[in-house]
Symmetry: C2
Subunit: 358 residues, 2 copies
DNA sequence: CTGAAAGCGCTAACAT
DNA sequence: ATGTTAGCGCTTTCAG
């Protein structure tokens, strides 16, 4: 009978490991309001003594707020949703396998973390499904990757909070739309001009689709050709690559067979450029001696490959950071000055393109 | 006066865009329980007519549950936390820049998505901070990357739910600990034996630390040397690389100057191997003619580089998927058969190591 | 300076 | 087969 348990003394260290405001208030003999006020630094109307007592208890019992409760009460979540329209056939459904995406999401994650937000990634081929997940978590803001105009409507219909697009292109310049992108058009335009200046006239374009970003890159490519008076046959000269594991080999067989007709191929990404070079070399075709290949992105694939790949530089990490910056501005209710940021794209001349003039 | 507003008719489509169970119940003239039951498929005791009415309303008003409320009521979150002890100096604090990590996290994301869970990433240099974030969200389970023994204690103290480690090594074989890792030791052991068989005797090891995974790889390396009677001087022959942007150049200067003393360098990752090769070549030292270099990981860096890099293969995506599988088993209360999965590591012989016997 | 109480949206035990 | 109700942990208004 030595020990007497006092029902009013709650020592949570031994009961459960997650203490609540109510419990702390009870222990300290005060109201939850006061505790809550101290937690939130609303201490204008709290006595110094109380503040210290509460803070000590918070510390001692290792108080961690229950964020679900907080979200419910405040109707906000501190979550930023990152939604990606994906293609299952690409990178075997592993979204971060693509070095571009990896670096971009990494940049977003870093920026979000430094601003006190949490990141939740939603990936789907289906926009409906994306919308479901976004709404479910009541994210405070949204980052949208690889979204097209029509898809955007569906999302906007149901998600009303701040939204920033990354790498999107829309038909009409919609006024209040915030996008962070790249000078894709100019990138391939300059790159292609460079190829032409090296004496290339038979140039193919390789991609796995022709919408959004890739479409812009294709347009820039075509423009350079046009200006040089070179005729491009979209049926023949657009090398369509099917990236799914099952079709990959056949796809490269077709493309490589086709390559005799060209002196150069512009690829829509470094990944494809490097892959193509390897496939070509495996078939005894040497780059740049037999054929030239250029890429886009300037990530370590093109940088560290030998021959180093001529490509267009971009900084995905910066893209992500800027997008986050814009989004947080919007969440805080500040005005956005630049609705459309287009990061510069710069041609990086390296060794995978041969100068035919020499 | 034409329109009469009936206070009991709530048409949420025009009021707010997030309908609640209560509102649906009100409109349909039934209780929230019934609606909730239909939502959760507990329809054993609900009439067909009611079910249909509810489902129609759910559909029409586009009901999306408020997950905070659900989490609060059920004390679960459908969130899986992925916590990483990071180093700010590595990859400029962009965790996903490392192709290994990118692919691993991508694999985790994919597996989680396919099992109906949401992923939240917590990254910090500071374990205390990691624990804070983990507790905050009340994650249903935890995946721990790059965590050491001492750090694990701190986490376990506060987080009691299912936890799976990825690539961790612990001093004592703690019985109930679930880990998914790789045969790191065997990997470098076999790799180094291969180098020795090629006639190399002066071999350095390059890494940015010597704990956890890297320590195991180092041990395997040493073992192979030992067995061949080669003496390794940890002071001199362990090439310590400082990866921060500021120190990178100087670090490579030192290492490259040092390289004359060796015929081969074993690097702890493909990234470092490829970087080293480029740095060497920039200084006029040719691989593999002047010196041989080997890597670890077998990602596209080693595969697509020229010369293609001799390395040790692993499958990070699979690692992630297996870890998720284990974790979900634990969450569902099933027994775990294999507490420690060590994926096989296989030497990939390519062109960056010279055979000195010929 | 402090406290009582309502309410955020949902679940589940317990009626009926 | 359906409804009532308490409660999850926190915030916030309003009263003292």
């Amino acid at each position: 009978m030595g020990m007497v348990t006092n029902a009013f003394v709650i020592d949570v260290r031994e009961v459960s490991f997650m203490i609540t405001i109510k419990e702390i208030a009870q222990m300290l003999g005060m109201s939850t309001t006061t505790v809550s006020n101290v937690i939130h630094g609303k201490t204008k109307e709290v006595s110094q003594a109380t503040i210290e007592k509460v803070e000590a208890a918070l510390e001692e019992y290792n108080y961690i707020p229950n964020i679900s409760a907080r979200n419910l009460a405040q109707n906000e979540s501190k979550i930023i949703g990152v939604a990606m329209r994906s293609r299952k056939d690409k990178y075997d459904d592993n979204a971060l396998k693509d070095p571009f995406t990896g670096e971009l999401i990494g940049g977003i994650e870093k920026a979000l973390r430094h601003s006190g937000y949490y990141m939740m990634i939603y990936i789907s081929e289906d926009v409906e499904e994306l919308v479901q997940h976004i709404s479910l978590w009541n994210a405070d803001g949204l980052l949208l990757l690889g979204i097209l105009g029509e898809e955007w409507r569906k999302i906007k219909e149901r998600y009303k909070k701040p939204t920033v697009f990354i790498d999107s292109y829309f038909d009409k310049e919609i006024k209040d739309l915030v996008n962070v992108g790249l000078q894709d058009y100019q990138g391939t335009y300059e790159l292609t001009k460079y190829l032409i200046s090296c004496g290339h006239r038979k140039i193919a374009f390789m991609a796995d689709n022709c919408v959004g970003v890739d479409s812009e890159r294709f347009k820039g490519f075509c423009q350079a050709l046009n200006e040089a008076g070179i005729i491009f046959d979209p049926k023949k000269d657009f090398l369509y690559h099917r990236p799914s594991r099952a079709e990959r080999k056949q796809s490269y067989d077709e493309i490589c067979n086709h390559c005799n007709d060209y002196t150069a191929v512009v690829c829509v990404s470094d990944y494809y450029a490097v892959s193509l070079i390897n496939e070509l070399e495996a078939r005894g075709i040497s780059v740049p001696d037999d054929i030239s290949v250029a890429g886009f992105d300037d990530n370590y694939l093109s940088q560290k490959h030998r021959p180093a790949v001529t490509t267009v530089h971009q900084d995905p990490e910066l893209k992500g950071e800027l997008a986050v910056k814009q989004l947080i501005k919007m969440i805080k209710g500040k005005r956005i000055k630049e609705h459309s940021i287009m990061l510069p794209a710069e041609v990086m001349v390296r060794d995978s393109v041969k100068n035919l003039n020499k």
